[in-house]
């Protein structure tokens, strides 16, 4: 963090996770978080984790994905969580995660495909499925009209890959499995 950011409030806003109302992604565009499941955090955020009010928290490079315990409501707990996250960012060095990068990337890929990029693909009659995520390489399989479409690779790199990289800058590359051949997941699933 720069000196200016130490005095200025941390940039932070929550975003909905499509299809999962219990989860919110707290976007922290100015920070670099340690990726993976959050195990321990300083201050109030750590307390919320320990008490189980936060059922799970997962760090993306620029966002903290938090799932509240069933029965708790974001409208009510949002402000508490915000202050807790805000305070915890002052001691980023104290955050401990399981450093599971591939699972983090897999979450990001799922989000991207469920979001506007997926809508775009669907609007063209196409489909895309992530078949594997390994060491920062995402393998996808085309479906629907994408199969055999000459623009498919353009879409893959300009839209899909760009959208994933925006949220996960450490992404190495996105590769498509040979046309039509839906390979089973290779390694880590």
């Amino acid at each position: 963090m720069t000196a200016a950011q130490l005095t200025a409030p941390i940039a932070l806003h929550p975003e909905a996770v499509p299809g999962t109302p219990a989860e919110l992604r707290w976007v922290l565009p100015e920070l670099e978080l340690p990726v993976g499941r959050l195990l321990r955090a300083p201050g109030a955020l750590g307390e919320l984790l320990k008490s189980g009010a936060i059922e799970s928290a997962w760090c993306e490079p620029h966002a903290l994905r938090i799932r509240l315990r069933a029965g708790l409501c974001w409208r009510e707990y949002g402000a508490v969580v915000r202050s807790a996250v805000c305070a915890a960012t002052d001691e980023l060095a104290e955050w401990r995660t399981d450093q599971d990068a591939d699972t983090t990337l897999r979450l990001v890929v799922a989000d991207v495909l469920a979001g506007p990029v997926g809508d775009y693909l669907a609007s063209h009659g196409g489909g895309l499925r992530a078949t594997a995520v390994c060491d920062g390489v995402v393998t996808v399989a085309f479906g629907g009209r994408c199969v055999g479409c000459t623009a498919a690779t353009v879409t893959l790199h300009h839209r899909v890959e760009a959208a994933i990289r925006e949220r996960y800058p450490a992404l190495r590359r996105v590769v498509a499995t040979p046309e039509g051949a839906m390979e089973p997941d290779r390694k880590s699933s």
Binding site: P9, L12, L28, P29
Partner: protein, 649 residues
Amino acid sequence: MSHHHGQSGARVAEGTRRFALVGSPNSGKTTLFNALTGLRAKTGNYPGVTVARYEGATTAGGDTVLIEDLPGTYSLDPISPDEVIVSEMVDAHESYDGRRPTPDGLVVLLDATALQRSLTLLTHVLHTELPTIVVLTFGDDLARRAGSVDAAGLSAALGLRVVPIVAGQRSSVTLLREALAEVEEWPAPAVLPPLEPSELGGWIRSVLTRASYRPPDVDARTQRIDAVLLHPVAGTAVFFATMFGFFQTIFTLAAPLQAYVEQLFGWLGGVASERIAVPWVADFVSEALIGGVGGVLVFLPQIALLFVLIAVLEGVGYLSRAAFLMDRVMGSAGLEGRSFVSLLSSVACAVPGIMATRSLPSERDRIATMMAAPLMTCAARLPVYVLLISMLVPADARFGPFGAQGAVMFGMYLLGAVSAMTAGWVFAKLGGRKQGAIPFYMEMPSYRFPRPATIAAAVWEACVAFVKKVGTIIMVTTVLLWALLNLPLQSDADLVAAGIDPADEVAVSSHVIEQSYAADVGRAISPVFEPLGFDWRINIGVLSSLAAREVFVATLGQVAAAENPDDPQAALAEMTVTSGPRTGEKLFTPPVVIALLVFFAYALQCMSTVGVLRRETGTWRWPLTAFGYLFVVAWVMAFLASRVAGAVT
């Protein structure tokens, strides 16, 4: 800057959905309102313009819905009466004034060129927890100034639906209409944005990053123009030159048009007296309707021209510069720039000017501005000034390259403005110590080419309002006066007894008028106006102008039409004093005309203004104060002016 006559009178069924437009001043609210409702409401290009309440109907998904345009506001922390209205309107728990139901949905306008500030207002609005949708305006302006914003990203970050709207683009408004029909499906953010200032700052930064927001460059064109127009010396010179040039056109451009309208009425008068068999009906038509009411209506071209100027200056974004320039002057008068905005509105009419004081947070400044506003030269004074100046200054008289008539008119406006500032200063002093200064937030919108349709609508609305006023209050007063001027009825025997030949129409009508009830009233108040050189006819004119200033023109028109129906203008100029020491002398001598001009510059002859002062202050104390002090000042100044003029001529 005009009256709001745009209320949609349509009765609406129970359960009709209501939506309120919320946005900061200049966020394009009024334009959107017009596009939705088709009402001819004005587009504001400087703060404080939308103070009256606007409501209109539109259709969404086949249903009629009501749209309310709330006053422009920067926050829902009410510090001025304007903001109180907005915050109460959008309060889900309280209905405004206890009469209006809470809106079913809020449409919040975010100005894409000032997104950061707009988001602060949005945060306040979201805490009302009413269904909310965002309209993103001025995206085209943003692009022109090399900025950009990703509406989809903004929508995701806010958790709200975002509809980008381009002014004048029908399809984007259609999208909004469709959205209004689906208010139940509007998404709401899972967590409300923080209100605590530092957290709010962080939230806004984060949202802007997510929306890939690139703020606009400072508009180069605007910067270059402002270097001149906001310069203390050059800017002021340009301001006065603009005004001076405008008053030239009032006489050079509008006068020929006025002549056409006069010809039309002259022809109508001829037709009326020829074709109407019943003598008193013919008299009524030619004197009251054509001489009186028509005499006011001929000033329509000048009114139209005045509003063209106001609408153009407002449309290009010049008026807020003028307010900025005047802020310094106002400051020395102990008032703030916002007061100037309200005084500027009073150039159209004091009523919206007084309503505009709602944006003033300080009670002391509000009262001082209200007491000053009636002194600004309103549109109603224009016909009176044109008539009087034409009698005072020959049309071909020149000051160097400029017409003398226009120069005198400019002087009258200047007199009004200087007097208003002085009155504001005095009342601010009387109002006691200045309360804690609240920063004056004045936006300098980029210069924009005004949309011709918006200007046409503004001018049209002003003309309709003028014609309406002529058709109502002026017509009624004129008809009443006609009766007073023609009663009691004089039989032929009475006339013969008075030594008048009943066959001599001109002699008869002047005798009837001289013996009328109106003459009695005019003579009864003559001690008051005698020192100013007014005779009973002018007294009646002044008295009747208490209803509305233009009635003065109508009254003189009637009297003149009775004496010489063919050429009332000439009759007016030739009119002589009929009794007292000046008998036989010309009535409208330069000192008398000057006294009248000055009297009209100061006197509060407008019942609408008195009414709005009562409503806005909630007491009779202030309207009575205004009426009283303005009458005294008018009389004294008119007396001094006529003495000075008498000494010079």
